[in-house]
């Protein structure tokens, strides 16, 4: 956890107005505490990601909003998929085997149709 000022120090070239705008746009969701913002580890990593996407890939605000939206959806799906995998891992072996069998293998061509 670090405060707003510390975060500005951590990344060279990250400017105060820019970071404030990201928070206002809800691209980063720090915790509001005593008239300042506290950034958790995930928020710091997200700031670094945004910084890179903006600078290195020359993506503007509008496109960035789209990119973040899509990324959030991908990660949401992956979290949900992880929960399904966890739930399956807790099932008895015969159910796991049945699920494994029912899953078509993406890497192999479907030979049953020949």
């Amino acid at each position: 956890m670090i405060a707003f000022e510390e975060l500005l120090d951590r990344f060279a070239g990250l400017d105060r107005r820019e970071l404030s705008r990201w928070v206002e746009n809800r691209w980063v969701l720090p915790e509001r505490r005593d008239r300042t913002w506290i950034f958790h580890e995930i928020d710091v990593a997200r700031v670094e990601l945004i910084l890179e996407v903006r600078r290195e890939f020359a993506i503007d605000d509008e496109a960035l909003s789209l990119v973040l939206g899509l990324l959030d959806q991908v990660y949401d799906l992956r979290r949900q998929l992880g929960r399904v995998c966890d739930a399956l891992a807790a099932q008895p072996p015969e159910i796991q085997a049945a699920v494994r069998q029912a899953l078509p293998r993406a890497t192999e061509p479907d030979t049953s149709r020949d």
Binding site: I42, R46, V74, Y75, G82, S112, R113
Partner: protein
Amino acid sequence: MAQTPYEVLGVKPDASADEIRKIYRQLAKQFHPDLNPGKPEAEERFKAVSAAYDLLSDPEKRARYDRGEIDESGAERPPRSYYRGYAEGAEGRKYQPEGEMDLGDLEDLFAAFGSAGRGWRGRGGEGFRARGGDRHFTLTVDFVEAATGAKQRLSLAPEQWLDVTIPPGINDGQVLRLRGKGGPGLGGGPAGDALIEVHVAPHPLFRRDRDNIRMELPISLAEAVLGARVTVPTITGPVTMTIPKGSDTGAQLRLRGKGIQRKKGPGDQYVTLKVVVGPSGDPELAAFLEKWAPRHPFDPREGTRS
């Protein structure tokens, strides 16, 4: 041996700073770990590309590397915690899209992915029951089997097969559904179905026309003029058919009830005659025709004149 930073970026050792920057941005876009979740190799490439660019983008470091004063890892970054590492954990829920996939429990997920009305059943407490998946197969049958109906054994795996009854008159591309012969159900749920797409191989003589069978039958000139009893193949075996005197090419004869057998009544077989003179022609026939003056001459091309 480790790759040189030039090899990592795929540029020549004398590449300009602009060129290097351009290539780096391309590669970074392609392999950024946060844009490639689930692809660990992308992260490896990204790290390698970033390290290479770190070194080559700094003229001083690049010069030192070129002089051999530092090695390719001389400018490696301190280990970094990527956003991905958090996003997939529980804390990532913070950035969950609003109102999109807020799946309260697994059952909602099944409801979201399963088709409505069938599939996922049961309440969370008793585990889940699910109908097994459908399995798809294709089966090619020959023309006569498709016309008359047949039993076929479809091999699924060694020691595992499916007996398939082909109903008479099945059409090319028709799908047979065998209930309960698909994938096993989960948690006591019903098995899925086997869906078998049937292909009908073409036949050298027969053609299907709905419930009728059509074929072309070559006959000799003598058979055409004098009439004859000839043997004709049908889908249920050879039968004898009478060719009336004076039959022309194109004349169509019907074999009643020799088509597809249906409960509502069978189809027929239609035989179209085709008079064949023979490869070289018969010299005696030719000699006869030269002398022959028909008593009732006719012009077969009468209708073709304009």
